[in-house]
Amino acid sequence: MSFAVAAAGSSPTEYVSHHLEHLKVGEGLWAIHVDTLFFSVVLGALMLFVMILAARRATSGVPGKLQNFVEVLVDFVDNSVKESFHGPRQFVAPLALTIFVWVLLWNLMDLIPVDYLPLLAYEVFGLEYLRVVPSADVNAPFALSLSVLVLILIYSVKGKGFAGFGKEMLFHPFGKNPLLWPANILLNIVELVAKPVSLALRLFGNLYAAELIFILIAMLPWWIQFIPGGAWAVFHILVVPLQAFIFMTLTIVYLSLAYEEH
């Protein structure tokens, strides 16, 4: 099957759990997932490199292939933002673009056969563990969604003012009666917390499950792998952009809800 099994023992359970282990520096809660950070930084740098290259050469005349490609992305994101967010877009639109492309690149890492990069890392750098899909590490989606939560709070204050936001927290679902304030606050906080949690878990769950299935498929005999592996990869091609798109769209919707008066 692969090096990993040889490295970690030979049972399927060990193979799977070995593949689900991060490359870590440090111990316990304060361990750093170097693989997640490395791949997301590399993918982010790749994204910025391509985009800045396109932006540098951007011309209002006939666009080249690269510019055309990036413009399609920009136009797509800009339209999505325009549809649901009715405030100034100079921050929200680039934010949405970054989320969409970055998450898309994360998810695309899942289509690289599960053993390729870990094997390479093991053979070349002697690294025991490696997980290449940042979105299948719960910390990456949560880092995004908690940043979005911060932005939701910022945009709430920006759109409604401190007083407006406070009033909404106190009065919103049930009414202005002081007796209802605790219930209102409780419900609003639950709502506020549910947003980043659901946002992150949706992405994480989809990609983690997909990665797990690829790992399970990798344990089948080599001559049969291409059938379930191919089918799952084709299906996954749908999931990859869809999850990126959902993450982006919900971010825009949450920010628009935060920004606008109800």
């Binding site: 304060w30 982010g44 910025l48 666009p63 639109a93 934010l95 970055w102 990456a140 995004l144």
Partner: protein
Amino acid sequence: MDVSPLTLIGQAGTFLVLVLVTMKWVWPPLTQAMEERRRKIAEGLAQSEEAEQALDKANAEADEIIREARRKAGEIIEQASQRGNQLVEQAKEEAIAERDRQVQAAEAEIRQATNQAREALRERVAELAIAGAGRVIESEIDDKRHREMLDKLAAEL
């Protein structure tokens, strides 16, 4: 789940950097270029429409000019043919007048010649009569006496 706060913070920091860079160096130039292109295309379309209208106008003007030119050409041809007719008419009249004049002159000449011939003939007849009579009645007739009578006779011819 493998929670790692430091990874999370690192990821969030990376995200912040990516967003800020995208906002500063990626988004504005691209959207500006796209907006600019949209404007250019709109202008181009407007200009082509204007050009089309101008072309229509120019075509209409050209048609008008051609029609006017045709009309003028017709007029000129008309005038020329009238003038031609006039000239022919005039020439005819002049020719007729000339012919009449010449005919009259010829007739006058003929008349004069006739008169001269008559005069000459008259004199000649008188002479012949006298000569004839003289020869017939030689001496019996007195030239002086009968002369008057013979002249009278000749004048009656």
